[in-house]
Amino acid sequence: MREIITQTWAWWFSGAMIAGIMFFLLYFGQSFGFSSNLRTICAAAGLGKKTKFFDFNWKAQTWNIVFLIGSIIGGYIASQFLSSGQPVEISAATINDLSKMGIAAPASLQPQELFGWNAVFSIKGFLILAFGGLMVGFGSRYAGGCTSGHAISGLSNLQLPSLIAVVGFFIGGLAMTYLIMPLIF
């Protein structure tokens, strides 16, 4: 039994869980969209005084912040109690491509070259993480949603804007993967 839980969960199971979370939130009168939390955090930090975009009743979004805290706890539980300690089993083709950029085959979930402390405290490494985060935060609000809000909730509701946003996600993702990353790594 424990082995079933600690090995990597099948894509169909994870996908079904995500859809389940969306319906759970809908049933309780909310909607599934994670990046709204970033706006809520700005509002809670008092940034609404100067910037109108953050001047709203953020306390109504408390449930989503609880969801955020739950996600942190979920990550902790997964690593402490449900982890097999095995590295990510990505395809040989990906390992080969990444090695050409100087990124070694997975030893855990994340590459040390990006998320290890040596990388974080180097100028280049810090800038990579900072710009990555900056673009995710800026882009998700500009597009009005992230993977959960557009790719999952929006597409489930057959929203054309969400499909356009997802096309954008891939334009950006492919440009970064094939054009920009070979230049920075």
């Binding site: 894509w11 996908g15 990505i90 979930l109 974080v120 995710v136 935060g137 882009g139 500009y142 804007p161």
Partner: protein
Amino acid sequence: MAKSEAISWFRIQEMFRFQAFHMYGIIGTAVTLGVIGVALIKKFNIRDFHGNPILFFPKDKSITRYLIGGTIFGLGWALSGACPGPMVVNIGYGFLSMIVVFFFAIVGTYLYGVFMKKLPH
């Protein structure tokens, strides 16, 4: 999320290189079930826990904001290997360097709020 490795930078790279079905399977399953479920909710006017009808609000019509915003998001997603949800799952998992990414995602959202009136939507 963590247990299906969807929070892994490696998995996101594999996805953008179209070298495995894994991430497409996860998102595809979620969306397929989502489409069926949302259609059923609409067809049978299913009410939520509070007894209110479950409403779906159409997104604003535009191409510019979704395409440009989406592209910027995609650039960041491929680079950092995480969208906002997985960022915090990673922090809980023990990858504390993700705090840097998450902090700057908040800064990015703030910058959007400051400059939104000057941006094409």
